[in-house]
Amino acid sequence: MTPVPMTLVTIIAEHVLREPLTADLRRLGARGYSIGEVEGEGTRGLHTQDWQGKNLRIETVVPADVAAAILAHLAARYFDDYAMIAYTSTVAVLRSGKFA
């Protein structure tokens, strides 16, 4: 098997967005995702973690076009109101069929 490139989207967002964000990911074409917990500080400084629980760190490995759609959606829908950052990088996977 030769590795094929995929895009890894990482989203760090306040806890309360768990349900909406995973629904968004599925709708936009992600076939899977993994959610960890982080604490953090950024420019918004909401101290949200005190009452909501920790920030979410969501990772999803998707084709490049799905990644672009996800980023665009996040920017339009959440960036203004919520504590959130998102970034993408290129990774190599063995079974491309699992992600697209």
């Binding site: 306040e14 309360v16 909406p20 101290h47 949200t48 005190d50 009452w51 909501q52 109101d81």
Partner: protein, 327 residues
């Protein structure tokens, strides 16, 4: 006891002092805090015990005795978010979103404040009715629903529908444990209760001991937000103490009219005066994302919660005593 004595007795109670200690720890920049999961576990125990015992005692109450107070409670649940909204919007000139957000918190109820009030009246020899936890359950959600509906006019395209978020409130931790506990407690009855009662009894040492630990962490949480007091401005500071006084007096009076004892009226007043900081915040954050969390959280947790705990409860008790014609 006169009012000063009442206040003093209240200030030196273990739960008030535990809260103060947690707060102080933060002031001296201690990193002490309870692990989040332990804190959650304690809150689950407290709510579940409250529900269970409430259910056991509900069995001893007639439907007739409950009907009036229940109606009064729902009435308060509809009224208090509206008064809150109007005061914050008109007098405080806050945005619609901020006003609705604050209204959701003050329209709902704080279970810990309820527990503190129940303990207080019992210590004064004026135990509240056994069905009070049922009223607590009734008051949890209407206020949030009303406030979010008020805010919904304002909601932009694409926000989470209020209906969806209300499902989360109605199936949240507090409701499962309180409402579920009520039903379970009601069904098991006195005989089964005897086998677990010493562990869950809300007037027993386990419950009170756990409550102290819980208050310690609430103090830490409030302490972490102390700095936000400067950000919220004078209006919210005054609001966070005067609004409870108004709602507390109103609640005590309505409770008295609805036939509650002095103890019961005090507790109902406290419930009306208290602000939710568990169920309301996430619901508000999702439906009213442009409301500023610093406003609603600071008001509910850093101002109104300690205010009720330390000063409000004795005052509502005085009011209820006076209304009840007692000395």
């Amino acid at each position: 006891m006169n009012t000063v004595d009442l206040l003093q007795a209240n200030l030196l109670s273990p739960i008030a002092l535990a809260f103060a200690l947690g707060l102080l720890a933060r002031v001296v920049r201690s990193e002490f805090s309870l692990p989040k999961d332990v804190y959650l576990g304690l809150s689950i125990f407290l709510l579940w015990a409250l529900g269970l015992q409430g259910g056991v005692e509900l069995r001893h109450s007639s439907l007739q005795a409950i009907a009036g107070p229940a109606l009064a409670t729902v009435g308060l649940g509809v009224l208090t978010p509206i008064t809150t909204y109007l005061v914050v919007r008109r007098l405080g000139r806050f945005s619609t979103a901020d006003s609705a957000a604050i209204a959701a918190h003050y329209g709902s109820v704080s279970a810990v404040t309820f527990i503190a009030a129940s303990g207080f009246v019992k210590a004064q020899g004026q135990e509240a009715e056994g069905f009070m936890p049922t009223l607590l359950t009734l008051l949890e959600s209407p206020g949030i629903a009303v406030a979010l509906a008020l805010g919904a006019y304002h909601a932009r395209e694409g926000e989470r529908p209020v209906r969806e978020v209300m499902h989360e409130v109605l199936t949240g931790r507090t409701m499962v444990l309180l409402l579920g506990g009520l039903v379970v407690g009601f069904l098991i009855g006195d005989q089964h209760w005897a086998t677990i009662g010493p562990f869950y009894d809300t007037t027993g040492a386990v419950f009170r001991g756990v409550l102290c630990l819980f208050m310690l962490e609430m103090g830490v949480t409030a302490g972490a937000r102390l700095g936000d007091l400067r950000k919220v401005g004078g209006f919210l500071l005054g609001f966070g103490m005067l609004m409870p006084l108004a709602h507390g007096t109103l609640g005590a009076w309505i409770g008295q009219v609805a036939g509650l004892s002095v103890g019961g009226a005090t507790v109902l007043g406290t419930m009306a005066a208290s602000a939710s900081y568990i169920a309301a915040p996430p619901a508000v954050r999702l439906t009213l994302p442009d409301a500023n969390p610093t406003y609603y959280l600071t008001a509910a947790l850093v101002i109104t919660f300690p205010f009720n705990l330390l000063i409000g409860i004795p005052v509502y008790f005085r009011v209820a005593t006076w209304l009840g014609g007692a000395p």
